[in-house]
């Protein structure tokens, strides 16, 4: 049913519309529609816009968690951008996001392709693969901590038994970065697998049959048929995972707390620590704002790719 016909159905009188009513009706209908969505709009504004505006105000003030404080202009932003800790966090956030997005995408796509083949116990396999995504991060981070935290933990013990020394997965800054990134990929692969699986299900098999008849190899089919055909879904998954990674607090905070020596402090962890541990509300919110702006820019760029992508 079209909007016009709906509008007609809603009209209480059935008399033929005069010229005046013809011009008034759409205006009235627009007003009705506006009034209908108004409650939702008001709620959305209260839930999203109000905190955002309030946070924006906090970022230009020298306040506490209770008091708004004095207006300091862009001082919080200047101090943030001049802070080496901020740029170290930017660097780690980039590493964490790039590894998290592409690591989980590659793993998810690989598993989705594998699950398209006729392997025995496919359903059980699928269910088990979903576990890392389903299990609460608090539980999985505790499990990972048990796996790697002390020299007597299973993985360091295994490495020692293999003659690789006793790696300190969470105490060595480089290894801690790698561990946190791998943990993120491990958690995120099931989600990417589901998205890739759904996209692959939409690819017409006859295209592969035609390509096979034309002599295309499996790699050529994947490269020139599968990837372009699922590109829209791929970009969406990248956008979502980029947002998930940049905003990911529990994965990092529960496993390393941002350490050792800030090696795994991402922007969101830095923002949290600045506001709630150092009680520097203005600078902490400024970090969050800079992070949000960057995220919007990246998301818009990826969204543009979706619009250009092959259907």
């Amino acid at each position: 049913m079209t909007v016009a016909s709906e509008r007609d159905t809603l009209r209480p009188d059935t008399a033929p519309p005069s010229e005046i009513s013809r011009t008034r009706k759409p205006r009235r209908a627009r007003r009705t529609l506006l009034l209908l969505v108004a409650p939702s709009l008001v709620l959305l504004l209260l839930i999203n816009a109000y905190p955002l505006v309030y946070a924006a105000l906090q970022s230009v003030r020298d306040g506490s968690l209770i008091n708004a404080g004095e207006y300091v202009g862009l001082e919080n932003y200047r101090a943030t951008l001049a802070s080496p800790a901020f740029w170290r966090s930017v660097e780690f956030t980039l590493i964490f996001t790039v590894v998290g997005v592409f690591g989980s995408w590659l793993g998810g796509l690989g598993l989705a392709l594998l699950l398209r083949t006729r392997i025995p116990g496919r359903t059980v396999f699928k269910t088990l693969l979903l576990l890392p995504w389903v299990v609460p991060v608090v539980v999985s981070s505790t499990a990972w901590n048990w796996l790697v935290a002390t020299p007597q933990s299973p993985l360091p013990s295994l490495a020692e038994a293999l003659g690789l020394g006793t790696p300190l997965f969470l105490a060595d800054p480089t290894l801690a970065k790698i561990t946190v990134c791998v943990f993120k990929v491990w958690i995120s692969v099931p989600f990417m697998m589901m998205l890739a699986g759904a996209a692959l299900a939409g690819v017409d098999h006859t295209v592969y049959e035609a390509a096979g008849v034309d002599g295309a190899t499996r790699w050529q089919q994947f490269r020139h048929i599968t990837l372009p055909m699922i590109s829209r879904s791929t970009y969406i998954s990248w956008i979502l995972m980029t947002i998930f990674c940049v905003n990911d607090f529990p994965t990092i905070f529960l496993l390393t707390g941002g350490g050792p020596v800030d090696a795994t402090t991402s922007l969101v962890v830095l923002s949290y620590r600045t506001v709630f541990q150092n009680f520097q509300v203005g600078p902490g919110v400024a970090i969050a704002f800079l992070m949000t702006v960057s995220l919007v820019v990246v998301s818009v760029a990826l969204y543009r790719q979706i619009r250009k992508a092959h259907v």
Binding site: L10, A38, S64, T150, A171, T256, G259, F276, F279
Partner: protein
């Protein structure tokens, strides 16, 4: 699609529907904006942290519910608050005027909120305590620790110490005497390291402040600290440098587990349980944390530092009153009741902290806990606050304790790095935080 007939009674017209929507939305808006007060159905709200084992909350709730207010004063309701994000919980509640009238909380929370105008000073309660003799029941110096330029920010109710512990069986097996000085400590650590044991058990991983607090204790033991007598950040001092160089010696002697900089509290307790740690700095509840009661884990006496000084680190946990209260007299009456009757919590042995009242220390139930009794007897007289060498506690301490710079500092020093640049970095970072 059904048409809507405005003439049919009992069915919504378009305008009626919009009106209803507006009413519901408006109602939600009003309820969201309405806020609350520190009263809970006419009663005072008392917020309390989980200060002990699982049965603590039930005991504290029962104590609160046993409060019988005098005529005209409100009663009290109990609300347990988790440590996770507690600053956020309290701050948002206070800002939205839905916070408690009285609460326990972080050790420096009262001072922090007092500086922000959210605290009702406890001078009248303390005056009353002085008149009825309750003030004399407090351990020496504890009431004074709550004093600020504007008044008493809170009333202390229990003490949280950082002290040296040792596992007797491991020291006996290694033929090591319990150290009494830093030199003896270093020698003991070397002997223990030869047996693959750690003499300075600590941890500075996610959410674990024992690493930084242990280093702080070593500074205090050497006459140093984080602040000068005026409360200004004063980290780069010879006393602190000497203490941290001593820790560096301990690291070189393999007294510190290399992985400890990433240890959570659970990781550290596991290492104590697994008998990998022979000595270390911990809270008063180490034996409770490891689930041991056979006396193998024992508290050392305070060590004598190179300058001959002894010191401990203590956090004076307190009960505070808030400016937003349905009745200030009611808040004071409830706080007085709680302090006077809190001994039941120690009689039931549900509190991890140590008592601040002499009458509770003297209880047979408390004296039966030998390690805790030893801490009160030997460590309390020499213990210094987190603010040392400042004469008073202040709000900025809340931002220092467990802050990012102090954790980073602990991880750097415990990794064996040069302490001088680490102290300089800490000085700069703390100056930015403590204003």
């Amino acid at each position: 699609m059904n048409t809507i007939d405005p003439s049919v009674p009992g069915r919504f017209s378009r305008r009626g529907f919009l009106g209803l929507g507006a009413a519901v939305g408006g109602g939600m808006l009003l309820s969201a904006c309405g806020g609350g007060s520190a009263s809970g159905g006419g009663n005072l709200k008392f917020w309390d942290m989980p200060w002990g084992q699982a049965n603590y909350t039930a005991a504290a709730k029962k104590l609160t519910e046993g409060y019988q207010p005098a005529d005209g004063l409100p009663g009290a309701t109990y609300q347990g608050i988790q440590w996770a994000n507690f600053s956020q919980t309290f701050s948002s509640a206070i800002a939205s005027k839905t916070g408690p009238a009285v609460s326990t909380g972080g050790g420096f929370q009262a001072f922090q909120f007092a500086e922000q105008g959210a605290i009702a000073y406890a001078d009248d309660v303390i005056d009353q305590f002085r008149q009825d003799g309750t003030a004399d029941d407090f351990l020496p110096g504890q009431l004074d620790a709550m004093k600020t330029a504007k008044g008493y920010a809170a009333v202390p109710w229990q003490l949280d110490f950082r002290v040296w512990w040792y596992r007797k069986s491991l020291l006996d097996a290694a033929g090591v005497e319990v150290p009494t000085t830093w030199d003896e400590l270093l020698n003991a650590c070397r002997t223990l390291a030869g047996r693959g044991l750690f003499g300075f058990g600590t941890g500075a991983g996610a959410g674990n402040n024992l690493g930084s607090q242990g280093l702080h204790l070593m500074m205090l033991n050497n006459g140093g600290g984080l602040f000068d007598p005026d409360g200004k950040v004063d980290v780069v001092t010879e006393a602190n440098l000497e203490a941290m160089r001593f820790v560096q010696e301990l690291v070189k002697a393999k007294a510190v587990d290399r992985a400890s900089i990433s240890y959570t509290t659970d990781n550290l307790i596991t290492q104590w349980k697994n008998k990998k740690v022979a000595m270390g700095i911990h809270t008063a509840g180490l034996d409770t944390d490891t689930g041991e009661s056979d006396g193998d884990l024992q508290v050392m006496g305070p060590l004598t530092g190179p300058g001959g000084a002894k010191a401990g680190l203590v956090f004076q946990n307190n009960i505070m009153m808030y400016a937003d209260t349905p009745s200030q007299k009611g808040s004071e009456a409830f706080l007085s009741y709680y302090i006077r009757n809190m001994k039941t919590l120690w009689q039931q042995n549900v509190v991890a902290g140590l008592p601040v009242l002499k009458s509770i220390v003297a209880l047979p139930e408390f004296q039966a806990q030998k390690q805790k009794a030893k801490i009160i007897a030997e460590w309390a007289p020499v213990a210094k606050s987190f603010a040392a060498n400042s004469k008073t506690l202040f709000g900025g301490l809340a931002a220092v304790d467990s802050s990012q710079p102090i954790t980073q500092f602990a991880q750097t020093v415990l990794a064996g790095k040069d302490p001088r640049p680490a102290l300089t970095t800490l000085q700069q970072a703390l100056e930015a935080i403590v204003k």
